[in-house]
């Protein structure tokens, strides 16, 4: 069994991303009773260390530096490598997020190590850790391991169940002074385009619209429904190509791959490219006027009818249920 897992936690918009707790849970599986160390990089992130410990980290390392406020490959790679050098972990578990995807292959190359990307499940049998990951856009899966050391994998958000938070857990937090130099990328600006702060890849509920939504205004009721459910709005390629919404909302082959607990497909016919991005959602609801739409073949619950009538009714019904609760 691995002796020390270094997991990379992530802060976005002033909050820990859930995937941080998921990689801690993965780390716990990989090391058993041995040590899970969470690394958090940023400018001012010390407030989060306790939460990481409550969620199962044994120890937290804070790498605070002004150059770590926003992600750049060079800055994060230097910081992470310095921590790896000092800690010599035999398992590295990162989120498969924009930063994690960008930096993990470089670190693996530097360490001359294997890397399993975009993991959705792991099994541990003694020393052997087997990772399951989707291939062919979720149409198939493969199981992989890393025979050498360190064991290195990145985890798709929303798939590994986090551990129950335990506020009685305690652990040490240390700050490391990382040296960052020769940055080759200058960030000029970051323009927020994501809706309401709920990140599509981590949203537990997604309301997605397709061509059937017909216009940008047609998306309004979808936003209202997503709001009531605390979810995010997504779209099919058809809808983003038709400029009903931003490309950043696109789910599918080209676009995001999501696995929410509840996926509500509104006016989406269900082209194979779209299914690639959402078919592994835990529960799929489809609303479409065409009773023959292929989306109905994979939906758990199908509603046939006019989406402009059904979606507002659904919003009202959820509001009622919420008010009762």
């Amino acid at each position: 069994m691995a002796e020390k897992a270094l997991v990379l936690a992530e802060v976005s918009e002033g909050e820990l991303r859930n995937v941080s707790f998921e990689v801690i849970a993965a780390g716990r599986k990989v090391v058993g009773d041995n040590e899970v160390v969470a690394l958090l990089c940023g400018d001012d992130v010390s407030a989060f260390s306790e939460t990481l410990i409550h969620h199962g980290a044994d120890r937290v390392i804070l790498a605070e530096h002004e150059d770590l406020q926003n992600y750049t490959t060079d800055a994060y790679k230097q910081a992470i490598e310095q921590v790896i050098e000092a800690e010599s972990p035999d398992a590295l578990l990162f989120p498969h997020t924009s930063p994690g995807k960008d930096v993990a292959p470089r670190i693996a190359t530097k360490l001359d190590s294997g890397l399993v990307s975009d993991v959705v499940e792991l099994e541990v049998d003694g020393d052997e850790v087997v990772f399951t990951r989707p291939i062919y856009s979720g149409k198939a899966f493969e199981k992989k391991n890393v025979p050498g050391s360190p064991i290195f994998a990145t985890f798709r958000p929303n798939n590994i169940p986090p551990l129950e938070a335990d506020s009685s857990r305690t652990g040490e937090t240390s700050e490391v002074a990382v040296e960052i130099k020769d940055l080759r990328t200058v960030i000029k600006d970051v323009i927020k385009k994501t809706s309401g702060g709920v990140d599509l890849s981590e949203a537990s509920v997604i309301v997605a619209g397709g061509r059937g939504v017909k216009s940008a205004e047609g998306f309004e009721p979808l936003y209202e429904l997503a709001d009531v459910l605390g979810g995010a709005v997504g779209a099919s390629r058809g809808a983003s190509d038709a400029e009903y919404c931003e490309y950043s909302l696109q789910i599918g082959q080209t676009g995001k791959v999501v696995t929410p607990d509840l996926y509500i497909a509104v006016g989406i016919s269900g082209a194979i490219q779209h299914l690639a991005g959402m078919s592994n959602s835990k529960c799929i609801v489809a609303i479409n006027k065409d009773a023959e739409a292929p989306i109905f073949d994979i939906a758990d619950y199908s509603l046939t009818g006019d989406l402009f009538e059904i979606v507002p009714l659904l919003t009202e019904e959820f509001k009622k249920v919420k008010a009762e609760a």
């Binding site: 924009s98 960008d102 292959p105 990307s117 899966f141 200058v186 529960c283």
Partner: protein, 257 residues
């Protein structure tokens, strides 16, 4: 400008995937240029049209990949290179592929290397960042806009839906995201010209590599298809009835809200 594209030949994702004894059945399947790599090829050609220079498309694979390389030449690339894996018997992974690419690029003068941000078959997105690390150059992944002036690139990146605007100096490796451009189709004259353009094949000896140095660092132990989904429930009645039933099912059966 010396412009390079790293490309992968992939299974057409419209194809049904079948697996026999843990091996993907490729019999009779259609293959294409990885869709994200098409953005890279298009952008490379646009860079050449704007700044002059030469576009070389490189792939790692077997002779079957010559078809996709010819397509890239027909789109407007100048040269194609196949790094031939024929001498490799064992499993290949991103380590293997990036070692081969790294060996190829070692003595090349490049201003920019473009690739797709992910291949749609394997979905890992490791090869391009691994190559950048091998070469010790800067990288910017998931780009949606690229402007180069002199030796400075101004780039827009898609970072999980938000847009980041950055500046970086060449040489640089970038990976392309949807939204960057609309890849052109090869024209008939383009296809005719492509037949005469150079397509070189390099084997392990040419790259000064040994099979033992390329052994995969990850091992595939199984491949399988997801369980067939059972047919779901079709709700009936007036919209209001369907909605009421749905909310009830989501709460009490699926228990997702």
């Amino acid at each position: 400008m010396n412009i390079y594209v790293v490309m992968k030949r992939t299974f057409d994702t419209e194809e049904k995937v079948e697996i026999n004894d843990g091996v993907i059945d490729e019999e009779g399947a259609e293959f294409v240029i990885n869709p994200y790599d098409e953005y890279a090829i298009e952008e490379a050609i646009v860079l050449k049209e704007t700044h002059g220079g030469e576009v070389t498309v490189v792939t790692v694979g077997d002779e079957e990949a010559e078809k996709e390389l010819r397509t890239a030449l027909a789109m407007g690339a100048d040269k194609a290179v196949l790094l031939d894996t024929e001498d490799l018997d064992g499993e290949m992974d991103h380590y293997t592929i990036s070692e081969m690419l790294g060996a190829y690029f070692q003595d090349k003068a490049y201003d920019i290397i473009l690739g797709g941000n992910v291949a749609v078959d394997d979905g890992a997105g490791q090869t391009a960042p691994r190559l950048a690390e091998k070469l010790g150059i800067n990288q910017l992944t998931t780009i949606t806009k690229l402007d180069i002036e002199g030796t400075t690139a101004t780039i827009e990146r898609d970072i999980e839906g938000d847009q980041e605007i950055v500046e970086a100096e060449l040489p640089l490796l970038v990976t392309c995201q949807q939204g960057l451009n609309e890849p052109r189709y090869p024209s008939l004259p383009g296809i005719m010209k492509a037949k005469k353009k150079p397509l070189d094949t390099l084997d392990l000896d040419d790259l000064d590599l040994d099979e033992d140095d390329l052994e995969a660092k990850t091992k595939t132990v199984d491949r399988f298809l997801p369980p067939e989904k059972e047919a779901g429930k079709k709700l009936e009645g007036e919209p209001a009835e369907q909605v009421e039933e749905l909310v009830n099912l989501l709460r009490n059966e699926a228990k997702v809200i």
